[in-house]
């Protein structure tokens, strides 16, 4: 029986990797992958605590998150395609026209 704190530590590590990816990388695809990492970090937490509490709520939530993540990837990739079409680049710092 592995204590819940190890899962939390794992989740934290995954989340941090994702976060660093979001903050430092400029490639939109990497960006999207980093977001996926953070979502999965949350999933790890949900499942770990579901196991810890002995009920299924967390697992159900995790399933929802996965479905959501799939949808998000679809939308995200679409955005990236449009981005590429308009700016001939998938560097997220290039398109800054959506501000004031």
């Amino acid at each position: 029986m592995i204590g819940v704190e190890y899962y939390v530590l794992l989740s934290m590590a995954v989340f941090s990797i994702g976060l660093v990816g979001v903050l430092t990388r400029r490639n939109a695809l990497t960006f999207l992958m980093s977001v996926e990492l953070m979502l999965n970090a949350a999933n790890i937490n949900l499942i770990a605590f579901a196991f810890y509490h002995g009920n299924l709520t967390g697992q159900v939530f995790a399933l929802f998150t996965m479905a959501l993540a799939a949808a998000e990837v679809a939308v995200g990739l679409g955005i990236i395609l449009v981005l590429y079409r308009n700016f001939r680049d998938i560097d997220v710092t290039v398109p800054t026209t959506m501000r004031w």
Binding site: V22, L23, V92, T93, P95, T96, R99, W100
Partner: protein, 677 residues
Amino acid sequence: MEGAFSYAPAIAAFPLVAFVVALAFGKWLPKKGAIPGIAATAASLLFSLWMLVAVASGETYHETLYEWTAGEAASEVGADGIAFSFGLLIDPLSALMLVIVSLVAFLVHVFSLGYMNAEGETGLPRYYAGLGLFTFSMLAFVYADNLLMAFMFFELVGLCSYLLIGFWFRTRSAPSAAKKAFLVTRFGDYFFLIGVVAIAATFGTLQFAGDQSFVAAAETAIDDGATLFGFDAETWVTITGLLVLGGVLGKSAQFPFHTWLPDAMEGPTTVSALIHAATMVAAGVYLVARMFGYYALSPTALAIIAFVGGFTALFAATMGVVKDDIKQVLAYSTISQYGYMMLGLGVGGYVAGVFHLMNHAFFKALLFLGAGAVIILMHHEQDMWKMGGLKDKAPVTYWTFLAGALALAGIIPFSGFWSKDEILYDAIIVGLEEPVILAAYAMGLVAVFFTGFYTFRMVFLTFHGEPRSEAAEDPHPVGWSVKFPLIVLGLLALVAGVANLAPVAKLANVDITFLEHWLDGEYGAIEGLTYGAYGELLAYETGVIGTEQQTVLIAAGLSLLLAFSGAGLAWKLYNAPEPVAHKERLGSAGTVVEDNYYQDEYQVWLAEGVTLPLARVADRFDQTVIDGLVNGVSSASLFSSSWVKRIQTGIVTNYAALIVAGFVALLLGLGLYGGWF
């Protein structure tokens, strides 16, 4: 005769119907609305005469017909409800006035056939509609039984005056004159409305007659020594009386609100005759007579009325002396004559004032219609210096005009003499005891001289001598519709004085003062609204010079002497084949008089030199300070947002960093606050 009064509302209703018919269908009617107008005023005249007969047979009528609204309102004297209503009050005074108004209105409608219809004028339906509406409002004003109803129709006649003065709206001068007339009278009506509101709030009633009248309530309050709105009762009655007087001065063109009347001559001459001579201008004086009981309670108010009247009589008469336009002369004489009426009422001469009101209505309508006939003869020329010699070419116009002129100048035995003399007599007997009244009397007396002068200057310049223009050599003929009203009014100007031969009565000791008996309620009367009742309220002492007979003779002799000398001077100066102007002899005084003592200038200055710049300043203040503040708030927020918005870089990474930083800061903050560290 009881049943007669149930038809009383019809007197005002007939002209109202004529108004609607003329306005809606006038375009398609044969005489463009004249026929319904004539028919309606004729019917009103007949019904008014019927009322007169009914009153003569001893009946009076005081009935509330329609409740406008009613409600609760605590008044100063303790009543806790008030009803505003429309009702009729037919007593000797209003019955007499109804006949005067409807008669003059009828004659003016007939005259209009010759004056307006003959000239290919456009907009005639509008003209006849205006006359109809005016006649309706004026008649309703006359037999109103309460002050609010009186005020309402008082304002409506002002509207009609505005519309009719501005009848020729395509000119520049007529709309301007119309505006001035309405504005100046409105200024007076402002005080009048405060007066109405104040009286209603004080006494809880606005009735003219009966136990429930504000006059009776005021009398009770004075007797009880009540305090009303922080003043003792008599002072408050004076204040409210003077407020109402504001409206009177405005409508009756008394100093300082007289300036609109000469300008009002821009309207058609028939309108001048009906509205600006015989009836609407009389509304002010009539109102004083109608609520005379209220003024009788306040010696101060009466003295002010008398003094303003005497002053206006003289003031306007001097201005009439130098005018060249025949209508202008008549306009100033109208102002002057209403001054006499005010003087008469102010000295307690209720009968004299009403008597002169009646006579003046006849002879001044006559003079204006005569002037209208002259204007037709002269192909629309109004300058007297271009006339002359019309005497032989238009005998009917001449003789009737002369009758009016003699009445106006106050030459025995024409009607004007009797009433003016009675006013001056009433003034002198009071004046012997009261110096203010004596001053008013003196001014009124001097005005007689000027009246005689300008009247006959006008007659001589217009009708005598040689024709001084082509138009005067070949006058345009006038028809029966012009002559008929002139003849009727000419006869009245000659004989109307018979109604009250007071000096003869006093000298010969015969009982021929019919009007005095009429107004004293010897036929029918409403209690409290009689000459006798007013006499009891008046606080005036009277004196005599020698005996009463001697006083009568002195007063009459003085005024006749002055009238004759004024007329004589005019005869000497202007009864020449080729009269010349004598204005330069007056020197600088002449300039001042010709410029109307700069009365117009200062009133225009008040409007355009004070109010308008003030309005512009207010506008600038509004645009810069108040709106500037509002716009300032918006610029301030726009400015600060132009800095704050820079956080939005458009780079997703920055947003993510901000989110993280915010989250960490939140965690740290909560942690510190919650004591985790």
